[in-house]
């Protein structure tokens, strides 16, 4: 402590230690928050419409009838405002379709996602159509019964990242191709 640089070192170190304690206390105050349920305005997978094509979205790939694409229009509304506290940085919300196909025992396809930052709008509404084409590498999509879920991933400032999902909702794919 005899020279100025020593005093600067000591004071700065003490500041960093205090910041560390504040960060740990931040984690402790938000540790037990339950993210697995959303109090929703309307978690309702209301409407579903779609069309299936036996072709590829990209014209450069061969159209050989070996895989299918679907464009789904889902209608779901949810309100994620209650998920946020001072430890949550953002949420990653996605809509997935789960089903069994002859080629794979379990398929899970993301058709819509959104990042909700803390200062942003926490209401989501997916009725503008899916964001990603639903791909399948077989030909079994016609008339298929699938499950439809909302998933969210909580990204915290301090602490672990965790995945949560909503209950499943059954949908049925259209029975015929459309062109």
């Amino acid at each position: 402590m005899y020279r100025g640089f020593e005093r600067l070192n000591v004071v700065f170190t003490y500041g960093v230690i205090t910041l560390t304690v504040c960060v740990l206390a931040l984690n402790l105050t938000t540790f037990f928050k339950d993210f697995s349920r959303i109090e929703t305005v309307n978690l309702d997978f209301k409407g579903f419409s779609g069309f299936i094509k036996n072709s590829s979205r990209y014209p450069s790939l061969r159209v050989d009838g070996s895989h299918e694409t679907a464009f789904l229009t889902l209608d779901a509304e949810a309100d994620f405002q209650s998920m946020f506290n001072w430890n949550v940085k953002q949420l990653f919300v996605s809509v997935v379709v789960e089903y069994v196909s002859p080629m794979h025992a379990r398929n899970e396809v993301v058709v819509w996602d959104k990042i909700i930052v803390r200062e942003g709008n926490a209401l989501i509404n997916t009725n503008k159509g899916s964001r990603y084409m639903h791909w399948d590498d077989g030909t079994g999509l016609r008339g298929l019964k699938a499950n439809w879920r909302l998933k969210w991933n909580v990204i915290r400032n301090v602490g672990p990242m965790a995945d949560y999902q909503s209950p499943a909702y059954e949908i049925e794919f259209p029975k015929e191709y459309s062109h």
Binding site: M1, Y2, G4, R7, L8, V10, V11, F12, Y14, G15, T18, L19, V21, C22, A25, L26, T29, N85, W86, N87, N157
Partner: protein, 99 residues
Amino acid sequence: MGLNDWFNSLHMDYDGQARAEKLSRIIILLFGFVGFIWGYIIQQFSETVRILGAGFILAAILTIPPWPIYRRKPLSWQKVRPQRSGDSDGEGKTKKKKQ
């Protein structure tokens, strides 16, 4: 280099160093505590970090430069004693030669 000598001679005494370190710790702890409570109230951790940063700057300004209040109790060194002629070897040799 008068300014350099003056600058190098500014040292805190031990009592001043102890007081400065204690004061810096109290300031940082206080700002950290208040900052955490305020951040919890408004649910923004960035404000906590900013308040803690302001506390660090205040503690740095008050305790790092060697202010005169930290130099109030210098150690009382003994005065320089003039050497007596019989004690020193050099003086004795000189005297013998003179005889």
